[in-house]
């Protein structure tokens, strides 16, 4: 597992994120609580790119900038614990390069979802949140929740099941 720096990203990293903004990305002056200073584990953006490829990395970069209230009252920015658990999961995951990489989503609560297809085309989803992960494996009719300490085992289970 890569080292985790429990501190805000550095100014140079923030500058990198600003300079590499998506083409056409525009600041909305109506959003007053813009949080570009969200804390992200230092190695996570690189891990997202390495495991999930460019599309998910760009979406990750977008989602990580969204403040509390991004989908209306009751919606939340992504929490530090959610980032940590995404890092735990990705660190132990292997996705076949011959298939379409997983998609990255964000829920209204600020949880990060990964979703892809098993070999038979059925859906697999894992939702990372601050206290663990929810999973759904359509081919097994299985769904449930694991605590954060069990996330590496969940990743290994999915590697074995879906390889």
């Amino acid at each position: 597992m890569p080292p985790i720096v429990e501190s805000p990203v550095s100014f140079s990293q923030l500058d990198f994120w600003r300079r590499t903004s998506l083409v056409g990305y525009r600041f909305n002056p109506q959003v007053t609580s813009w949080t570009e200073t969200s804390t992200i584990p230092a190695g996570l953006p690189e891990l997202v790119f390495a495991k999930l490829d460019n599309t998910a990395w760009q979406r990750f970069r977008d989602f990580s900038r969204w403040p509390d209230g991004w989908a209306g009252p009751g919606s939340h920015a992504i929490a530090w614990g959610t980032y940590l658990n995404l890092e735990r999961f990705l660190d132990g995951s292997r996705f076949p390069t011959s298939r379409t990489p997983p998609s990255l989503f964000v829920s209204d609560e600020g949880f990060l979802g990964l979703q892809w297809e098993a070999r038979n085309g059925t859906t697999v989803s894992v939702t990372l949140h601050p206290s663990g992960a929810d999973y759904f494996i359509e081919s097994e009719g299985a769904e449930g929740t694991v605590e954060d300490a069990e996330i590496p085992a969940l990743a290994e289970r999915l590697n074995r099941t879906l390889a």
């Binding site: 998506l22 990305y25 525009r26 600041f27 909305n28 109506q30 959003v31 599309t55 979406r59 977008d62 989602f63 900038r65 969204w66 403040p67 209230g69 991004w70 989908a71 209306g72 009252p73 379409t100 998609s103 990255l104 989503f105 964000v106 829920s107 209204d108 949880f111 979802g113 979703q115 859906t123 989803s125 939702t127 929810d134 999973y135 759904f136 359509e138 009719g141 299985a142 769904e143 449930g144």
Partner: protein, 144 residues
């Protein structure tokens, strides 16, 4: 007011829960609780585009990509027949009218649903792409 089975509801498919590169819909799309939808009986689909674009695109990067439509009766039927972990796990789904200032057609799916059940609803959703020439980015945003 609980909506009758014959009504159809629209769910905005935005970039946070729809990946336009892969076409995948997130299993959190209907997870809720209190998932916002819009009634086609009050505002027809042709007029939903501007309404939803104005209300869901609260910040740059969150873009209306499609609209998904499903019947209330079909939704409730999927909930009633749902199985989780290979055992019957029926959910009695309720859709209630909840008009708000920005959308008289607003309604809520009240229950919190599992990823698996939300995925089953995703599969039944009729997805409508953006109408030709319609750019949601040009719609003025309504931020409460």
């Amino acid at each position: 007011m609980t909506l009758p089975d014959k009504e159809e509801i629209a769910r905005a498919l935005c970039s946070d829960k729809y990946d336009p590169t892969t076409g995948r819909l997130s299993t959190s799309l209907f997870k809720g609780p209190n998932t916002s939808v819009s009634r086609l009986a009050v505002i027809p689909l042709s007029d939903q585009w501007r309404k939803l674009a104005a209300t869901v695109q609260k910040l740059p990067g969150r873009r209306l990509e499609k609209i998904g439509v499903i019947g209330v009766g079909q939704l409730r039927d999927i909930g009633a027949k749902y199985q989780a972990n290979n055992k019957p796990a029926p959910v009695d789904i309720h859709v209630v009218a909840e008009p708000v200032a920005s959308n008289a057609a607003h309604a809520l799916i009240q229950e919190k649903l599992s990823d698996g059940l939300s995925n089953s609803i995703n599969r039944a959703l009729l997805q409508h792409p953006l109408p030709t020439g319609f750019d949601p980015e040009t719609v003025p945003r309504e931020i409460p």
